[in-house]
Symmetry: D2
Subunit: 116 residues, 4 copies
């Protein structure tokens, strides 16, 4: 039975909490503390790097690698959100709002309108 089916807790919220707690950890001992200590450019560079690795994993067509790299990408997004005092629930609310208000294609419609 998979973790996501059993856990009654919110995985991303829990991870965000752990990331938040690591902020005050020793940068020598914690990767997350070190990244937050290095600051904005170091964290944003990781977003670009992990996105590239996700694309490469997809091109290689290896399912487990795609899952691992997407996990890396989302995890570094959590570190970035922490840097700006934001929560993953705000991202999920935005996704749910789009679905609720006008369907998943709202963004596309909006973007297409911008181009005109």
């Amino acid at each position: 039975m998979s973790i996501s089916q059993t856990s009654s807790q919110d995985i991303l919220a829990r991870l965000a909490q752990v990331v938040h707690e690591r902020r005050s950890a020793d940068p020598e001992k914690s990767y997350v503390a070190r990244l937050l200590f290095k600051g904005e450019d170091a964290i944003l560079k990781k977003i670009g790097e992990e996105a590239t690795e996700t694309v490469m994993a997809a091109k290689d067509g290896e399912p487990q690698k795609i899952i691992n790299e997407t996990a890396d990408l989302w995890f570094h997004c959590l570190v970035m959100l922490e840097l700006y005092g934001l929560q993953p629930s705000q991202v999920l609310d935005e996704l749910a709002r789009r679905e609720g208000l006008s369907g998943l294609d709202e963004k596309a419609a909006r973007k297409a309108k911008e181009r005109e």
Copy 2:
């Protein structure tokens, strides 16, 4: 009840389901159907593009823009996962597994080991 009280697992699973259903929609009417119809390169290009837009939003330091662009990035990750028949729960399981097994810094330790 606010949307954010629903778990991230639920929201992402529901969105993945909608993306899956759009697969058979009319590419003329649905952005998601069109993207899935165009295939791998079109979807992966969006991952790179949305990651760049997330980085730019962060540099601009506008919280709502950061949330919106991260939502765009995660959403296109869901479209990519759908293309390969994968589920967001598998990504969340991987994140939970890392936390459970050896802490959030496992990845860093693993990567550092690879470099040696």
Copy 3:
């Protein structure tokens, strides 16, 4: 005389000059004029997009596609340089300086030092 016997400096400088001239062209008729009119975010997004397409072409292992996408990437770098009033000769000078002063590995040494 083949085009490639002309120096890279010459070709890039000539292209930069054309990009510069397009700045005042009609955005309706010129892709470059439109991109410069849209401004920073539109141009930087293209850098991320074309870099991703270069990575995908490399993964596909198609030589002509790699060349085309690298050309697209460098071309959009010229548009970015124009936006900030910079010249490709400044980038080439920087590359030549590194080679001249301390070898191609200077950057790596510098970066490695930063990490310590």
Copy 4:
């Protein structure tokens, strides 16, 4: 007087030659040798990373940083080209060909056509 104005040699071709020679150097002593030894994924990851750093430098609006990061990006493109046995002159020829044949906006026209 800048290097690019005095040098009668082709800077990118000369750098590509140096990169080629480093291929057989000791990976312990040369950054380029190490990168080529690590192979495709390591090199392509750098393309994504340097593109992101270029975007961040542009957002910071620091001219020298933009030049340095663009130089890093182009340099890692040379390493990628070397990996596939390609030359920067082939990229420059492609850029010159586009200019010569149908103007800089050919690509845009082609892309726009593809979208239809």
